[in-house]
Structure formats: C-alpha cells, structure tokens
C-alpha cells in the first residue's frame, strides 16, 4: 500500500497488484493479435499444432516485391490517393476550423453539427447513395471520384482538429504584426502558420490515415479499378495465402505506426486524442 499512499490523489480505487494485472493484460491484449501476422509473414510451413513454423522463409516478402504481386503499383496509388486527400482536406478543412475556433457568430452551433454529421453517419451508406450521381458525371471508377468520396470523412476531421487549435490561438498576435506593417501573406507565414503548425501536422497525419485505411469507399466508388493496398489485401485474405496476407498487412500498417509515433512526438507526452477536441 506504500505506493498508493505516496501517489495519494492519483491512485484509482484498486490495489497495485490488481493494477499490474490490468496493465499486463492490456499490453498482451493489444500486442497479441499482431504476433501471428509477424510469424506468418516469415513462415514457409506452419501447421497445427506447432507454436512456431517448421520452416522459415522470405517467400512472402519476395513475392510482395515481385511485379506479379501488384503491390508496388498499389502502394504508389495508395500514397497518391492519401496524399491528394490530405492536401485537399487541409485546404478545405483548416479555414473552416479557423472560422469555428476563432469566431463567435450566429449559426455556429448548427454549422458545427453539420460538420460533425459526416463523422457519425456511416460513410458507407453515403457512398452507396452518391455512386449513381458519380456515374452520371463520369466520376465513378476514377481516381478523382475516389478522392472526392474520401473527403467526406476526411475534411470534417481536419476542420475539428483545427477548430481546437484556433480556439487556443490569440488573434492579437496577427493584429500586432499588421500594426507593425506586415502584409497578409507575411502575417500568415510568420505569425499564424508557426503557431498552428503542430496542430496542422497532426490533423494532416490523421487525415492521411483515414484515407490510407479506407476500404469500403474505395471499393464502391473505385469499382475495383483503383487498386489500393486495402483492395489488394482483401483479395489476398480471401485467397487464403496466410504468409502473403500477413506480410502485406505489415506493409499496410507500417506507415500508420510510424505516423502515430510522429503524432506522439508532436503532441509530447499527451495522448493523441488530446489534440482533438470533441472526439
């Protein structure tokens, strides 16, 4: 009970032994599902009931690099798609975030609800509904069409992150720079941008991940023509090749985990969601 006494106000209503059990269970629970993926990706033969493969091999990884697996073009398309979505969502969402975070105006609560709605209503239903319009305007089965439909969940995220950032931004710095003779672009470049950059980067990383992980929307609007990594992963998962599916899964999550580490750096010790107000 010594540690409980020393950290008085911080301790939850449970003895330390139970706490260590909870923490150990949490760590195992979080990491265990990834273990079979890592093992499978290096397995040549791994039959039941062996805990480790009889033979190891780099076959799956070599196959991913080979042209016939289509992984490299899919990787390129996924990066292009997520990059385009991130750029557009930033250009669209960040100004909206500024408006919501910095100003009080009539109808602000309503606008906030409207921007929240696409995060709550399943994007899946929206994309099935809009596909018919995309067909009419030649956007179905195209890169641009998929970018547009990815904007539906991506832009509100950016707007909300930036609303949180701009709520803590003091407009007087901009006024001060203006009084000192700075032109609008200079104010933006030297005052506003440096102040909101960490939030902007975090928002952009999240938006990138939203687009990067998207399967259903790409499938429905891309019609199977735009083959991103998740499309390929799904096909491999259905084919039953455990090793290749596992290796591709790891390729698919690698950028995500790297980006999370970056986000954690940008936000310091605070958990990632600390930067996202209202989520």
């Amino acid at each position: 009970m010594r540690s409980a006494e020393s950290s008085a106000g911080l301790s939850p209503p449970r003895p330390p032994l139970l706490r260590w059990f909870v923490l150990a269970a949490m760590v195992i629970g979080m990491l265990l599902p990834i273990v079979p993926l890592v093992i499978w990706s290096f397995a040549f033969r791994w039959s039941f009931p062996d805990l480790l493969p009889e033979r190891w091999s780099l076959r799956a990884w070599r196959y991913l690099a080979a042209p016939e697996s289509q992984v490299l073009p899919a990787l390129r398309d996924s990066l292009l798609l997520a990059g385009a979505v991130t750029l557009l969502a930033t250009l669209i969402g960040a100004p909206a975030g500024r408006a919501l975070g910095m100003y009080r105006f009539r109808g602000r609560a309503l606008i906030e609800m409207l921007i929240l709605a696409p995060l709550i209503v399943p994007a899946f239903a929206v994309s099935l509904g809009i596909q018919i319009v995309f067909i009419r305007y030649g956007l179905a089965d195209t890169f641009l069409g998929v970018v547009l439909v990815h904007l539906v969940p991506a832009t509100p995220y950016m707007a909300l992150v930036m609303a949180g950032v701009f709520a803590n931004f003091d407009r007087q710095y901009e006024d001060l720079a203006r009084t000192l003779g700075a032109r609008p672009l200079q104010v933006w470049r030297w005052v506003t941008l440096p102040a909101v950059l960490p939030g902007l980067v975090v928002g952009a990383l999240f938006v990138f991940l939203i687009s990067w992980s998207q399967y259903a929307l790409t499938l429905i609007i891309g019609g199977g023509r735009l083959v991103t990594l998740p499309m390929l992963l799904f096909a491999f998962a259905r084919s039953g090749d455990h090793a290749v599916t596992a290796a591709l899964s790891l390729v698919f999550i690698a950028p995500a985990v790297v980006l999370l580490a970056l986000i954690a750096r940008f936000l310091g010790a605070a958990p990632a969601a600390g930067g996202i107000r209202g989520l």
Binding site: S7, A8, G9, P12, P13, R14, R19, V22, M26, V27, M30, L31, L32, P33, P36, L37, W40, F48, P49, D50, L51, I92, A96, R98, A99, Y103, R104, F105, I111, A117, I120, V121, P122, A123, F124, A125, V126, L128, G129, I130, I132, V133, V152, T155, L209, S213, A216, I220, A237, H242, A246, A256, L259, L260, A269, P271, A272, A273, G274, L279
Partner: protein, 293 residues
Amino acid sequence: MFWSADPERPRIWLMLAPMLAVVFLLFGGGLFFALIQSFGYLPLIGQTEFSLAAYVTVLRQSSFLASLLLTLYIATTSTVIATALAVTAALAIRATTRGRQALSFIFQFNLPIPHLVGAVAMADLLSQSGLLARLAAAFGLIDDPGQFPVLVFDRAGVGIIAEYVWKETAFIGVTVLAVLHAIGPEYEELARSLGANRWQRFRLVLLPLMLPGVLAASVIAFAFSFGAFEAPYLLGASYPQVLPVLAYKRYTAVDLAARAEAMALCVIITLVAGAAIVAYLHVSRRYLRREAD
C-alpha cells in the same frame, strides 16, 4: 456578444464555404440520393415513381430481423466491453508513474491500424488453427483444431466483436486518458482531504467528471461499428449478415431492382446510427443541466 461588429464577418463564411460544399454536396447529396433511390426513384432503369415497396420487401424478409439483431448485438456488445476495458486500463495507466509513456503508446498503438488488418489478425489469432488454438494444444487442452470453439465466421460474430473491442478499446481509452489528464488530481485530493475513501473518490468524484467524455467516445464507437463493413465482410458468417454487408450484397446483385432495397437498408442504418447520437445528445444535455443546477 459583439460578433456583429466583427469586421471579419463576411470572411467567416468565405472560410466555411468549401467545407460546407463538401458537407452539402458530397455528404448531403449522398444521403439524399440514397433516400430517393430507396423510394424507388431509379431513372436508370426507368422507374420514376415514388413508393415504399423496397422498405416493405426489406422489412418482410426474415433475414432482415436476424441482420438487424446481429448488427445491434455486435455493436452494443463490443462497445460495452471496450468501454469497460478502456476505463479500467486508462485508470491503471494514470496511476502508474514509471513507464507511463511506453504504456500509453502501447495502449494506442493499434489506433491507426486499419480495420481490415485487424480482421486479418483476428482470423489468424482466433481461428481453429490460429494462435490461441495452438496455445490451447500446447497446454494439452485440445488435441485437434476441431475441438477449438468456432470463433470466426461464426453466427454469433465473436471474431467481429473481438476485432471491434481491440480497436475501440484503444479509441475510447485514448479519449479517457485525455479526459483524465484534463481533470487533474485536485478534485480527488480535495475529496480525500474531506475523508472520502478510494471507492467514494472514484464513484462520487472521478466517474461523474469523466462520464461525458467516456459516453461521447462510446457513442461514436457504437455508431461506427453499427455502420462498418470491413470486419464483418471478412470475418462474418454467410448467415446472418450485418446490415451493411446485406446492403452491399443487395447493391451488387445482378437484379437492378434490388438497388432500391440496398438503399432502404442504407437509410435504416443511417437512422439507427443517428438515433444513437440523438439519444446521446439528449442524455448529455440533461446531464449537463443537472450539473449546472
């Protein structure tokens, strides 16, 4: 309130315009066209009359009720389990001083992992020849894969629930950690100085303070898992199927008339997810008002 005197006021709407275009044209448009197609307005196949036929067809199918119940069951169970685990783990992390940063990182490391990968991982973990079955064999609990319970592609959706719990625990947990961070230790210290014991400090101080944040995260997780498609598409049984998978199946059916049924299912999914949010807003408003009194 001097907002009307703000010289930047016209610029506010200019800043909001592109975002509102996305919301109204893409999001609103998608919902609108899902709605009119669900009423049978499908000029592509020569139908321009509005009717409720698709809803009648969908609601009459015996598979619909099974799908609705399965979807509700999966979304509710996974959200409740994930919320309980998230709160427990977040409190344990907060009480730890050494290694707290590493623990929080592990806690949220699966946050950016796509659900599709989560589903693949669960299949390799929980299937009858998966890692858990191998561990069970190593401990002598089973002799062959057939003796291990069916946890994926099963009618009870255990694999899907496990995938959602895995992902949502991190999502809700990160929110809880942020909320706890914002609350700080002062209230608990005050309660302690007034003689409150551990349980009272949790029940009467911490829980009410963190409840709004926890509830918000849980409702978002519920709405997400109710309308998500990836994990059940990969891990689900062929019958019953969750509503989004059912909608997609009707959508890709050769029979074009099934499209109206797919849209009716989309509208129903949207209504249920929307109802969860409205119920949450109602509860949280009442709760906030009571706090203010």
